[in-house]
């Protein structure tokens, strides 16, 4: 059962359709499956709903599918980085569903885990609660949230093997592991592809069962959104602004 594809285009072949719902990993520009989202752009498929914490920044990531108007709707927690997004939204050309970030993450996790709905304190008494069931447990109010499940998921990992096992690197992990579990077909792009057996099985973040197709993309497309540093002479203060 071969899971390895030679490039992003072939890894997406036969599974893209107009109007489909796509999970796309990443937080900001960190850990986004940019090679795969660019290939979705190139495919020309349209009227897409994307579930993604953010919408890229102008010219990078999902923003490139906004340019071509292939995206009909976004389910996100924050889109503040993206001017094109704001324009299309204000012009009524783009639907938007905001989810609190933790609720979004948990809805995706629930989708992959066969849990159709769960309760959370997040959003009680806010606009997010509109139209949702509110229920008390042990004297506290909670909202019922439904799960999310995509037609396909695209994720980015640091390393993958031929069995589809994935390892993420540092904060590039973010939404990728849950999304990998929450779609009919998950396609993974990896910086490094190795034969099965090369990754310590205790270090695997996403077991191969969740990954149907895998493609090696190298490390070229990695971006820094806000480059913050401290000078080498400065004293090491935690999180200091410079």
């Amino acid at each position: 059962m071969n899971k390895v594809y030679p490039d992003a285009k072939s890894a997406l072949e036969g599974i893209l359709k107009d109007g489909m719902m796509i999970m796309s990993g990443g937080f900001g520009l960190c850990g986004i499956p940019e090679t795969l989202s660019d290939a979705i752009r190139d495919s020309g498929v349209k009227n897409l709903t994307f579930i993604s914490n953010n919408a890229g920044v102008d010219g990078i990531g999902l923003s490139r599918l906004l340019e071509t108007r292939q995206i009909k709707k976004m389910i996100s927690s924050y889109v503040g980085e993206n001017k094109l997004f704001a324009q299309q939204y204000l012009a009524g050309e783009l639907e938007l569903e905001f989810n609190p970030q933790g609720t979004l993450a948990e809805r995706i996790r629930a989708g992959g885990a066969g849990i159709p709905a769960f309760f959370t304190k997040t959003g009680v008494g806010t606009l997010i609660a509109e139209g949702k069931e509110v229920r008390e447990f042990d004297g506290e109010k909670y909202l019922m949230e439904r799960s999310l499940f995509g037609d396909i998921a695209i994720v980015h990992a640091w390393m993958g093997d031929t069995a589809g096992n994935l390892v993420y690197r540092k904060t590039a992990r973010n939404f990728n592991p849950m999304m990998a579990t929450a779609a009919k077909i998950t396609v993974a792009e990896v910086e490094h592809l190795v034969p099965a057996g090369q990754i310590d099985p205790d270090h695997i973040h996403t077991p191969g069962i969740f990954v149907k197709r895998i493609v090696q993309v190298g490390t070229a497309k990695k971006h820094i959104e806000f480059r913050t540093t401290r000078p080498r002479t400065a004293q090491a203060a935690t999180g200091v602004e410079v």
Binding site: L29, G123, I224, R230, T238, V240
Partner: protein, 216 residues
């Protein structure tokens, strides 16, 4: 004479305790990490999936795979661990984080908080703010006491809420207040900034509050 941003951050930092796990918002809250009291060890959580967040990296050591929730490059510490967004917000929602320090547009006297949208303006999204205020054990707001158009400490928020009855303490450039968010003790003024008078605070605050100044 009101407090500077640094003084506000320093005051908020006094709420830290040894061994605390803390989430800091963007802006003045970020500055709090510069004022961690001597002899106290605090672990910073970044809700994008990191515990044990270190300072900004040295020039040339920035790593695109290592950012905080504000999308800024940061660095690792010996205690650092990484995890998914689902695990990160399980940690937040489950009440495992001791303290969240964050900014606000408005705070009401019952602890309601508004900090994510202004109707009619482009909405950027709430990010993780709603999860943090609902889930973290104790929420401290650090903000300017007043906006250009009037008070920010109100009887009732008129902006859409981020959370209902979630704020435990407010540090402004003029004063420090506590809020009994689940009880009936309401809001209490417990400190004045250097050189600020009670009258000045009263004139700039719509919210009702008791005066309970320490060492006054």
């Amino acid at each position: 004479m009101a407090w500077t941003r640094e003084q506000m951050a320093a005051r908020a930092a006094k709420e830290l305790r040894d061994g605390y796990y803390v989430n800091l918002g963007i802006g003045i809250p970020t500055l709090v990490s510069n004022f961690i009291p001597e002899g106290i060890e605090v672990n910073l959580q970044s809700e994008n999936g990191m515990l044990g967040m270190g300072p900004f990296p040295f020039e040339g050591e920035e790593d695109p795979d290592l950012i905080n929730a504000g999308k800024q490059t940061v660095s690792e510490l010996p205690s650092t661990s990484y995890f998914s967004s689902a695990d990160s917000f399980a940690m937040v929602r489950g009440g495992h984080i001791d303290l969240s320090i964050l900014g606000a547009m408005q705070v009401a006297q019952n602890g309601d908080l508004a900090n994510w949208m202004i109707p009619g303006k482009m909405v950027k999204g709430m990010g993780g703010a709603m999860d943090l205020v609902a889930g973290v054990k104790r929420v401290v707001v650090v903000m300017e006491h007043s906006a250009k158009d009037g008070p920010k400490l109100l009887k009732k928020c008129n902006l859409p809420l981020t959370g209902e009855r979630v704020v435990d303490m407010v540090v402004t450039d003029l004063a420090v207040f506590t809020i009994d968010k689940h009880g009936k003790d309401g809001m209490a003024l417990i400190e004045l900034a250097d050189g600020v008078t009670l009258e000045e605070v009263k004139a700039n605050t719509e919210a009702e509050f008791r005066v309970a100044l320490k060492n006054a």
